[in-house]
């Protein structure tokens, strides 16, 4: 009889464990808060908030004016970053190169937004963009000077930026694709260049085929 009870208890415990892990990881999909965030963002499809950009050529315009009904391929960075950002921008340059020229500037534009507006003035951005072959037109680098707007944008797109006290930031990185209506369409792994490029190209091709 005791064996019997033990077996029942084991089954109950295992069931509890399975349910716990299932709920805790969105059905075994998300084991880090970051993947959970990505999963939730793609379900929610938040709208890109209204922000004013100031780019490397000292021009100011809103995001909406810049996007102008096109897709926007987006990254977040800061120029003093020595770790992830150069890699992120380097990979972005490769995606840029992989997208057929006919779409660039017409159907899709690229944008790197700095979340360190104090140090990343237009002059710094102008220098930084040349390292990655950004042309400053179809791929622009810009800062958002209004702190509230920047915070709202980072919150909305789930970009977590933690200053480490030495002028550096710990932050999560991804490729973002904003749709024509200003909704978040895709969040892509920035280390997987080919996949990101083919995802974007597929969306553009589908659009062109219509």
């Amino acid at each position: 009889m005791k064996k019997h009870h033990n077996a029942i208890a084991i089954i109950v415990v295992l069931l509890f464990g399975t349910v716990l892990f299932y709920i805790g990881t969105d059905g075994f999909r998300a084991f880090t808060a970051e993947s959970a965030r990505t999963y939730k963002l793609l379900q929610d499809k938040p709208v890109f908030p209204s922000v004013t950009l100031e780019d490397s050529q000292n021009r100011s315009y809103t995001f909406k004016e810049f996007a102008d009904g096109k897709y926007v391929f987006l990254t977040f960075m800061y120029t003093s970053c020595t770790t992830v950002c150069p890699q992120l921008e380097m990979n972005m340059a490769q995606v840029y190169a992989l997208i057929p020229d006919s779409y660039i500037g017409k159907d899709i534009v690229f944008l790197s937004i700095s979340f360190d507006p104090e140090r990343d003035d237009p002059k710094t951005l102008a220098k930084y963009r040349t390292y990655f072959g950004s042309d400053g037109e179809t791929w622009r680098m810009a800062r958002i000077t209004n702190k509230e707007e920047l915070k709202e944008l980072l919150d909305r797109l789930g970009v977590v930026v933690i200053p480490d006290g030495n002028g550096n930031f710990t932050h999560n990185s991804a490729f973002y694709l904003i749709g024509k209506q200003g909704h978040l369409l895709e969040m892509m792994d920035f280390t997987n260049i080919d996949e990101a490029a083919s995802t974007v190209a597929a969306i553009l091709n589908e659009e062109a085929g219509e």
Binding site: N6, T32, A33, T170
Partner: protein, 185 residues
């Protein structure tokens, strides 16, 4: 009874918001101090629960296996990077941490450890040595941030903390296997 009181005092102390906030502000202390202390508080409080409900434990945990499995499940759950993040950002998750670690890990551990065989004990150690080494390696080697609420340097520290724990457990198991324990019995 005394043990229960010690456990209860420890538990209430850990529940104090400033204490919780302080312990959680540093990643390795959150993982390797607050969480084990919560388990310890449950472990101490378990004595009274065992005395109050002896039949329950005798009936459902007679060989200690269900209890040790529950303990392991709760421990592994709190080793998932996401759960540690969510304990900081989602209140329900924080609440679950303060309930699950003492009462679903500490209490069953106390009740089960004496009941399971030494082979069972060794398997538990070996499983956690492997898991801790893997988690340590993951935290040390990961180029990216695994927990959004902590810096990468904290992450590396935590990784070494895991490795240290794994090494300590391994040393303990090795001395169990090769040491002569006849004198202590």
């Amino acid at each position: 009874m005394k043990q229960f009181l010690y456990g209860l005092v420890l538990y209430l102390f850990l529940l104090l918001p400033p204490v919780a906030a302080l312990l959680e502000s540093i990643m390795i202390i959150h993982m390797h101090m607050q969480m084990p202390l919560l388990i310890l508080s449950g472990f101490l409080m378990a004595r009274l629960i065992q005395l109050k409900f002896p039949d329950f434990f005798r009936k459902w945990n007679s060989n200690g296996v269900p209890g040790i499995m529950l303990f392991s499940i709760i421990l592994v759950y709190w080793m998932i990077p996401r759960t540690m993040d969510e304990a900081l950002t989602i209140e329900a998750s924080e609440l679950f941490k303060f309930i699950s670690l003492p009462f679903l890990a500490g209490v069953p551990l106390r009740d089960s450890w004496k009941k399971i065989s030494s082979a069972g004990k060794n398997s538990v150690f070996i499983i956690f040595i492997i898991l801790f080494s893997l988690m340590g390696w993951l935290y040390i080697a990961a180029d990216e941030q695994i927990c959004n609420n902590y810096l990468r340097v904290d992450q590396i520290t935590l990784g070494w903390g895991y490795v240290t724990m794994a090494v300590c457990m391994a040393i303990y198991v090795i001395q169990l296997i090769f040491g002569d324990h006849s004198e202590y019995k």
